[in-house]
């Protein structure tokens, strides 16, 4: 990380608040590509016998929220059952307040469960899954799932681990469900655990980093004989400035293998880190190519959505992971972005 978190002012600096608390973050000079903790060796807690549920995160369009640390969150089964009861009661109260009759879409039964396989390193806490279902219609039929929410943290940075045992740091909140139920669940979590949950927006610079880094995970042409790799082309959607009439977005599609070749030219093969210069050359290469053919300067537009065979992300905070093998890498990057975007709160004891 470029700037370390220091709550004390070192002598010789300005007396007004340092820039670290401004909304502008500094792009790091380099970023790790893969996870530090090797995925094949599960953590030494007693989850070795339990199945990893990480595959459930793939192929769903999640809306990303960032959450401040939770106060007094208990992982014991009585704790989780208690939260489930409270959530169900909260949802029922909210639905009874509804004047407009929403046709069965408002779930009433909430459950909190631990989701195995998501948390990675020693500093991560276990991920929690929140499911909201509609009330059971008949005796035997289970209610329809209205919302799935996953609170997790994947390979969080060492300096952001909270020493105070009363707080649990689960910064990433992925939600799939309709707007009303999402709102109720978020209000419940904010009230119950004294935290603040805000929608995450990915700035265009970060999207450029993502597409530049994740192109490296596309399997090479020789390896892609296996049927599992989907040959999804790289897609970059740029938003055109408002002054230009008649054109709102420009979508650029690149074949996956060509992008991978360019990535290999740009990236230093032995290094686990992806530097700023490599990212700039990759993006610059794409923009130059586009300019050569269409005489349109993509540098003047801003990225809105990126899509590759690993994941698709857009600036409004929607994330869809497409690859089974790189889920941890994607979540790790999202965790890092979310933690960077929040001011350092109670991280240091």
């Amino acid at each position: 990380m470029a700037s370390a978190v220091t709550p004390f002012r070192t002598p010789g600096t300005t007396p007004w608040p340092s820039r670290r608390h401004m909304p502008y973050t500094k792009t790091p000079t380099s970023r790790r590509l893969t996870c530090k903790t090797h995925r094949r060796f599960p953590r030494l807690r007693n989850e070795r016998l339990q199945v990893s549920r990480i595959k459930e995160l793939v192929d769903k369009t999640w809306k990303v929220y960032k959450a401040t640390p939770f106060f007094n969150f208990s992982y014991k089964s009585e704790g989780l059952k208690r939260y489930s009861r409270h959530l169900s009661a909260h949802l029922e109260a909210e639905s009874s307040k509804n004047i407009v009759d929403v046709e069965g879409e408002l779930g009433e039964h909430g459950t909190f469960e631990i989701m195995n396989g998501v948390a990675l390193s020693e500093s991560d806490v276990e991920a929690v899954e929140i499911t909201v279902k509609t009330k059971k219609q008949n005796g035997n039929e289970d209610g329809k799932v209205v919302l799935i929410g996953v609170l997790c943290s994947v390979e969080i940075a060492e300096e952001c681990v909270i020493k105070n045992k009363q707080f649990t740091n689960l910064p990433v909140f992925l939600v799939k469900g309709n707007v009303a139920v999402t709102r109720h669940v978020i209000n419940f979590l904010q009230a119950q655990f004294d935290s603040n949950i805000i929608a995450m927006h990915f700035p265009p610079m970060e999207l450029a980093w993502m597409i530049a880094m994740w192109t490296g995970f596309i399997p090479d042409a020789e390896e892609s004989n296996v049927a599992t790799s989907r040959n999804i082309p790289l897609e970059l959607v740029y938003r055109v400035p408002e002054e230009i009439e008649g054109l709102r977005t420009i979508t650029m599609t690149i074949r996956a293998q060509d992008a991978k070749k360019m990535w290999k030219c740009v990236h230093n093969a032995d290094s686990e880190e992806f530097t700023n210069e490599e990212m700039n050359s990759f993006i610059h290469g794409i923009e130059q190519h586009f300019y050569y053919h269409f005489k349109i300067k993509l540098a003047a537009m801003s990225l809105h959505t990126i899509r590759c065979s690993i994941a698709s992300v857009d600036t409004d905070g929607r994330l869809k992971i497409l690859s089974n093998t790189s889920v941890h890498e994607v979540l790790r990057h999202v965790t890092q972005l979310i933690v960077d975007s929040m001011p350092p709160s109670i991280c240091v004891s």
Binding site: T13, T14, R19, M22, P23, Y24, K26, T27, H201, P203, P204, M205, P241, E243, K297, A299, A300, S302, L303, T315
Partner: protein, 181 residues
């Protein structure tokens, strides 16, 4: 003939100040120029705009000497930053003693930011020139930014008795941005 823009190689018309706005297309230079012209001043104001430096060769020598240069950067447009970075090199060193300024547009929306704020502040530190943030979306903000720029232009044109741009530059409150470019 040097490509550098210089302020002291010609004599300007009496009671006139000339301002040059440099910035990529789409950075609302003309709106800003109109706002500055709409404000009442005691002196004549000439506004020139350019999308990059160096300026094309002045055949008829009718171009007035420029008293003040404003570089406009749009944080959602990477091209504007690269153009400003390359244009600054074509300015004669006289301009960096109080006759130059960086204006940053669209700074209040970090979600749509394409240019790093640290890069802009680094630029301002390296060239030791002030940096203003503003926008031209509402008339009030546009006029506010225009008035700030005009106060600097007035000094650069020598219309304030006893105050020179060098005095302002030497007594300017620098922010000491710590990080290097």
């Amino acid at each position: 003939m040097s490509k550098l823009l210089s302020t002291f190689n010609k004599v300007s018309a009496p009671n006139t100040a000339t301002v040059l706005l440099v910035g990529a297309e789409g950075t609302s230079k003309h709106k800003l120029a109109e706002a500055m012209l709409n404000i009442d001043t005691d002196f004549n104001l000439n506004m020139l705009t350019a999308s990059s430096l160096p300026l094309p060769k002045d055949e008829s020598d009718s171009r007035p000497p420029v008293n003040f240069v404003v570089f406009v950067i749009d944080l959602s447009n990477v091209l504007s930053m690269t153009i400003v970075e390359s244009s600054v090199k074509y300015l004669d060193v006289d301009y960096f003693l109080g006759r130059c300024c960086f204006v940053v547009m669209k700074a209040e929306d970090p979600d749509n930011q394409n240019v790093e704020m640290m890069a802009v502040t680094g630029l301002s530190d390296v060239y030791q020139s002030p940096m203003l943030c503003g926008d031209v979306k509402t008339i009030r903000n546009c006029q506010c930014l225009a008035r700030k720029l005009l106060s600097m232009v007035e000094i650069a044109g020598g219309f304030k008795f006893g105050v020179t741009p060098l005095l302002i530059d030497a007594t300017r409150n620098t922010f000491n941005f710590e990080e290097e470019l």
